[in-house]
Each structure stands twice: as C-alpha cells, then as structure tokens.
C-alpha cells in the first residue's frame, strides 16, 4: 500500500534531521487529502512546536516525520523526499497506553532488550534514565499503575531516553495531566532535550511557548499558515490561534473579555439565590467498598451556584459526585430539592434495590462521553431521556432538536454518536444530560483534554444554564474556572470537603468591571 519515492536528499540541507518535501497523504476512504504538497524540514538541535486546530493533521505529520507512518501505521503516502531520523523516541498523549509491562523496571528493560543491551548494563542505565527525568533512581520494581499520571509520562520519557534518540517526538504529552503533573513533566522534558532535536504537538502551550525556537502553524486544511519564532507567530496570527482553540498565552483573559462584552459591558458576577437551597449536606460521607472515601460536614448548593470542586487526583472528587448521584452508598443527611434522600450505607439490600439515581433532579456528565451514549443516532441520544419521561413523541423530538441547536450539533442528527469528533461528543453528552431540565448539573472534569474552543463552549453552556437558575457542580483542574467563574469552591483534600468562597479579590475586580 505504501509508496515512497526513492530517497532524494536534495530538497534538504545537510543539517536536516527530519523533513518532508511535497508530502501527499490521504486516509483510505476519506474524500480529501490530509496534506497536499506539504514541505517542512527540521534542523539538528531545533525545538519545533506544531500548532493547529483539532483534526488538521498535526499528529499525523508528527508520525510521518518520525517514520511511524508508513513503517508502523500503514497509510498511503507520496512525497518527493522524506528524511526520518535514524534514532527517535516518542511520548504519546495517554499515560495509560504507553506501557506493556506491569513494573517500572520491566518496562524500561523492554527498551533495552529491544536494543540488545547486555543484562549487566541494564540496571545502571535504568537508574540513569530515571534520574534524568526527575524520578527516584530506586523506583525500579514498582508497579507502573501505582504512579501518578504525571509520573507515568515522565517514565515514558525515561524509556525514550534509553533509546538514545537523536530526535524526541512529543504528541500532546501533557493534555491529560493536572497542572502539577504538567509542570513537572515539562521540566523533565527541557532537561532531557538538551542537545537534542525536539518536535512537539501540543494544545496547551502556556508553559512551553517561550522555550521553543520555532512554531509551525497549520491551517484546518493541512497547509502551513505560518512558520517562525514564537513571538512573531503569536503577534501575527492571534485571531487564528483563537479560532483554532489553541491555549495560547492570555487566552483566558480574552475569553473573559468576550464574555463580559456579551453580558453587556461590566457584567456583575451572578449571585446565587440563597432562599431555597437545591441541595444540602450535613455529616455526609460517601463509601466505596464499605469504606468512607469522602466526607462533607456541611455543604449547600443554591440555585444559580457555580461550584468548582478542586483538589489533587485521588482525593475523592469523583467519589463525591458519584455519591451525590446515589451511585456510591452514603451516610448522613442529604436533602435534594427539599426532599430527604434515603441513606444507602448500612441500609438493607432490599431497601437499596428500590433506590434509583435521582436523574429527574440531577444531570450527570461523565468524564468520557462515549460511556454515556445509549442510542444509535445523535437525535435519539439527545431525546432519549425526554422520551423516557413519556412526554408526547413529537414534543420530545422538538425538545431534542432545540437542544442540538443550542449545542451546535444541528445537521448531525442522523450520525452515530461514535462518529462525532471529540468536541462534538462532549457537547452531545451534555445535551443528553440536561434534556430533563434538571435543576442541578454535576460534571466530572468536562474540560479535561479538550482544546480551548471546546473548553470555552462547555463553559458558556454552563454559564447560560446557571443564568437560568440551575446549579452547576464541576470537578475541574482549571485554576481559571475556580478563580474567575465559580461562585464557590469545594476543596477536597484526603476525602475531606471544605467550602470556601471563590477568591474575593477576583470577584471584586470583576464587579468593578475590569
């Protein structure tokens, strides 16, 4: 299937370590080319960032430059010339799908075995690589799954270093990390990349833009829009960056500016209506496998609240949401819309069986939208819960269509939910969750791994529903949401929920209209 013209080095200089000239690439079965006559070359030691909107082919280009396409992933390509580096290493996006062995030392050994390194030299090499990425050198016979996501990415980087690569390729390595993990991972990358060539695809570029030598900006059609030093690209293509959903420096400030404008000049932040709480908790604790994993002594949610649930991974944020939804057992006082919810921990089996999640009052959005889908078409998906309520069929469909318009999904009604793009899937999962017009909406990291455009779209929908008097409870790692959008912050530390108001200074600042 693959066609490569005989290697022709002429279009490239002697210092080129990776490059393509007049590259044409098309996925089988797709109507249009991903790339049409694209040329790009990277010199030894350069640090290059590939930017572009979702679906423009950045990751594909990265795979061509590194020789994964067409050697490993078979895609028909044609080019006047291709230079792939002799030695290269990849770090991919998902920390959970880069390893094939259960233990850290075995995973690192896998690379050394592939290279045929004698056994005696393996352990010293492993220690050196772990140290180089800022992991403890004695972190050897430790299960990979016991590491945090950020540590896993650094482990992936360590195994890349063992390949002694000339060029390191990073394919959105920090998209699925929390801010702390992201910071540590990039620190390790800078250390590891010293004296090497680095080619990166990444959406979140606040931390890395100033360390790059060169940014290549791709247009939605896969052509190169701009190619130059970061400062120049950010100056000349600000509007495109905004449009493409790239996390350029200052993107949040722009979002809030637009939001305030739309709300009529100096918008005042929404004030929750404290007269009748939607949800109150007292001495509440959620249980997993019979053990309490999260507890809240006192908490309430009012109509118009936007609550950001923050805290480190594994502290119990998701468990809190699941127990509010009665998907985990709980003990304590829990009132929802004025009605007491029956305790489930310690209740008899028969009593528990009668309990259903309060789907009529709470909408729930899971982290991975695919797991929520139950229907065969987008329209059916959006209308599913409405239909279940036995409203008239026509009425339910009209409502579903209205929602699809609201979430910018019109025209896709007949598509299977799995055929949508990531952002569309996320929007559809929200549409399906709110179709019952529930007064409380729980969201578990809905903006995780999304590009800026999707993140802001999700936020805008939430804000709009908040304005209509719904209450939003959102687990998030995004500091800007906690600081500037939320009315309250629930901080979860080691399973303990404490409530604090969103930072006053910021609210006051926004009240003053800056």
């Amino acid at each position: 299937m693959t066609m490569i013209e005989p290697l022709d080095l002429e279009p490239f200089g002697p210092e080129t370590v990776a490059g393509v000239s007049k590259l044409r690439l098309k996925f089988p079965g797709e109507p249009s080319f991903v790339f049409k006559d694209l040329s790009l070359s990277v010199r030894r030691g350069e640090k290059v960032l590939l930017l572009g909107p979702s679906g423009c082919g950045k990751s594909t280009l990265l795979q061509v430059l590194g020789g994964l396409i067409p050697q490993v992933i078979e895609v028909p390509i044609k080019a006047e010339g291709i230079v792939a580096p002799d030695s290269r290493g990849y770090v991919f996006q998902d920390p959970d799908t880069q390893f094939c062995m259960p233990y850290v030392d075995e995973e690192l050994a896998f690379v050394l075995e592939n290279r045929g390194i004698p056994r005696e030299r393996m352990v010293p090499e492993m220690r050196r690589a772990l140290e180089a990425v800022g992991l403890r050198p004695d972190l050897l016979h430790v299960p990979v799954d016991s590491l945090s996501q950020g540590m896993k990415q650094r482990l992936a980087l360590a195994s890349v270093l063992l390949l002694e690569p000339e060029v390191i390729f990073l394919d959105e390595p920090s998209a699925l990390l929390d801010p702390e993990g992201r910071k540590q991972m990039w620190e390790s990358v800078w250390k590891a990349a010293e004296g090497r060539t680095l080619i990166v695809v990444e959406h979140r570029i606040e931390e890395i833009a100033d360390r790059m030598d060169r940014i290549v900006l791709l247009a939605p059609d896969g052509s190169i829009l701009g190619d130059g030093p970061p400062a120049w690209v950010f100056g000349a293509f600000r509007r495109e960056l905004q449009q493409y959903g790239i996390w350029y420096p200052g993107v949040w400030a722009d979002f809030f500016k637009v939001l305030d404008l739309r709300r009529g000049g100096a918008a005042k932040p929404l004030e929750p209506d404290a007269s009748a709480p939607l949800l109150t908790l007292r001495r509440f604790s959620g249980f997993r496998a019979g053990r309490p994993v999260v507890r809240a002594d006192e908490a309430r949610v009012d109509p118009g609240d936007f609550i950001a649930v923050v805290g480190p991974n594994g502290a119990g944020k998701s468990s809190l949401l699941l127990s509010l939804m009665s998907l985990l057992r709980f003990r304590g006082e829990y009132r929802l819309c004025g009605e007491a919810m029956p305790e489930t921990e310690g209740a008899s089996r028969r009593a528990r069986r009668a309990i259903r999640p309060p789907t009529d009052r709470i909408g729930y959005v899971f982290q991975n939208p695919e797991f929520q889908f139950v229907a065969e078409s987008v329209l059916g998906e959006a209308g599913f819960s409405a239909k279940a309520k036995q409203a008239g069929k026509a009425e339910a469909e009209a409502k579903a269509r209205r929602l699809l318009r609201f979430f910018h999904l019109e025209g896709l009604e007949r598509r299977h939910p799995y055929q949508l793009s990531t952002g569309q899937k996320r929007r559809l999962s929200m549409a399906a969750a709110v179709v019952g017009e529930q007064p409380v909406l729980l969201l578990d990291e809905p903006t995780f791994g999304q590009d800026a455009r999707n993140t802001f779209a999700i936020l805008e929908y939430c804000l709009e529903m908040q304005e209509k008097g719904a209450a939003i409870v959102m687990v998030t790692h995004e500091e800007n949401i906690a600081r500037r959008v939320a009315t309250k912050v629930w901080e979860v530390l080691d399973g303990a929920v404490t409530e604090r108001p969103a930072i006053e200074a910021d609210l006051a600042e926004r009240r003053a209209g800056t």
Binding site: L68, T97, E113, L327, F371, Y418
Partner: protein
C-alpha cells in the same frame, strides 16, 4: 485482580525455572489423568494439597480460602457418576437415580482426581508470575517475542476494561436504562449495551499500545537480550526431585495403606 494472583511467599517452586516447572506439571497432570486406582487418586489429592500448603506461593490463610471450594468440587464432580453410573451391585434406586457399588467408587475416584487437578493447577499458578513464565517460554521454548509481549501487554489492559465496565454500568443507571426481557433477549440487550463501548475503547487502546511498543524499536524479530535470565540451577533439580517424589509417595502409600483396595474403577461387564 491481577495482584490477587501474585505470589507472596518465597518457596523452592517459586525460584524454579517456569519452563521446567510447566513441563513437570504437564507430566503430573498426565499421571493424574491416567490414574485408575482409587487409592492412588485419593493419595494424589492429599499429597498435592499438602504440597500446596507447604510450597505454594500464597500464605496459609489465603491457601485455606482457596482450598475451601475443593469440597464442593469433590461433590459436584463425583455426584453425577455416583447417581447415574453403570454398575451391577445395586445399592439404591429411585426413578432415574441408580446407585451401585461400582458407580459409587467410580464417582469418588473422579472426585479425588478433580481435587488433585485443582491442587496441581493452584500450585503452578501460585508459584509462577506470568511475566516470568513468558520470559522463560521465550528463552527456553522459542516462543516468538511478538506473542509473549502481546500477552503481557494484554494482561496489563484487563483491569482497565473491568474499570470501564463499572463506569458504563453507572452511566447506564444515570441514563435510566434498565435491561428489559429475561433469558436470551435480556442477554442480547446486555451485549448490545456493553459490547460496543467497551470494545471500541479496548481496540483503540490496544492499537495505541501497539504503536507505542513499536515506537520503542520493538519489531518482533531480531536479536534481543533478556532482563530476566532463564537458567537452570540447583533449585530446579530440587523441584524436579520434589515433584517426582510426590506421585511416587502417593503411589507407595496407596500400595501400603489402601483405603478402598480397588485397583481399577472402570466398569467391565
């Protein structure tokens, strides 16, 4: 789930070369399969269960827990033969049930062999981490690294599928889905609701793992070195001795102290 099977006790069998151990256990199973003597079968069941406590990789309490179902295994595997087997010396009959002396002993013999099999299997599993087994198979039996590493990678992926199954179940509860219909229709509905999302995730994940492995210069062929050596040492000799002595001891016991004294339980008319 995988952690549950991890050996926690250091024994001779744990240090044995897994490839040699595999051969030994296949041989032991063959001996058990070919056993006709009921006393030999009973003593095998006893011997291997004792070995399981003495040399298995799990602590005594965990082993006890695993041995508990042996009773059920014994009853379930012997019952059918006892109740329906052929035989001339009739003891009791009621409708279809027909217990004869021959069928009774043949049933017991089956039950003892089931226990022997179970104990052999547990003894192997409890002393053999999967990674070590695949390393030994690659080095001693020329198993292609392609297959070995694919298996090891997929073992790592199993718990993730289980976790996703739980998430899917919660999501369906939230969406208010209850499976309608019982029996086959209910089964089909379950498959429809769970198979597509779980499979699509798993296939994508497997593809990503495969690409990541190849990106680490794993090409399935070529010369490679091994992190875990697979050599033969004195512990292997000890294991061979132990596992050869066990059936011999059982046989000797059956000859010297027979409980039933039936040399061949098969039915000859």
């Amino acid at each position: 789930m995988i952690e549950l099977l991890k050996p926690t006790r250091q024994t001779v069998l744990l240090r044995t070369n897994p490839a040699i151990k595999l051969v030994l256990f296949v041989a032991l199973c063959l001996v058990t399969v070919l056993t006709r003597n009921i006393d030999f079968a009973a003593y095998q069941a006893l011997t291997y269960t004792v070995l399981l406590f003495a040399f298995g990789g799990f602590p005594v309490r965990k082993t006890l827990l695993l041995v508990l179902p042996f009773g059920f295994l014994f009853v379930s595997s012997s019952m059918t033969m006892i109740l329906f087997g052929k035989g001339d010396t009739l003891w009791w009959q009621w409708g279809l049930f027909r217990i004869s002396e021959e069928s009774f002993y043949r049933g017991l013999h089956l039950g003892f062999r089931s226990i022997a099999f179970a104990a052999e299997g547990l003894l192997f599993v409890s002393t053999t981490p999967s990674v070590k087994l695949f390393y030994a198979l690659m080095q001693n039996f020329r198993l292609a690294p392609r297959f070995a590493y694919s298996f090891m990678a997929s073992i790592r992926l199993l718990p993730m599928v289980w976790e996703e199954f739980l998430i899917r179940r919660q999501a369906l509860q939230v969406r208010g889905i209850t499976v309608r219909g019982k029996g086959l229709r209910g089964m089909a509905e379950h498959v429809r609701l769970y198979a597509v999302p779980l499979l699509s995730q798993s296939i994508r994940r497997a593809h990503r793992v495969a690409v990541a492995m190849e990106a680490k210069q794993f090409d399935g062929g070529g010369k490679r070195t091994y992190y875990y050596p697979s050599n033969v040492s004195w512990t292997d000799a000890a294991a061979v001795l132990l596992l050869a002595l066990a059936p011999c001891a059982a046989y000797a016991a059956a000859v010297v102290f027979p409980w039933f004294g039936i040399a061949d339980v098969r039915y000859h008319s």
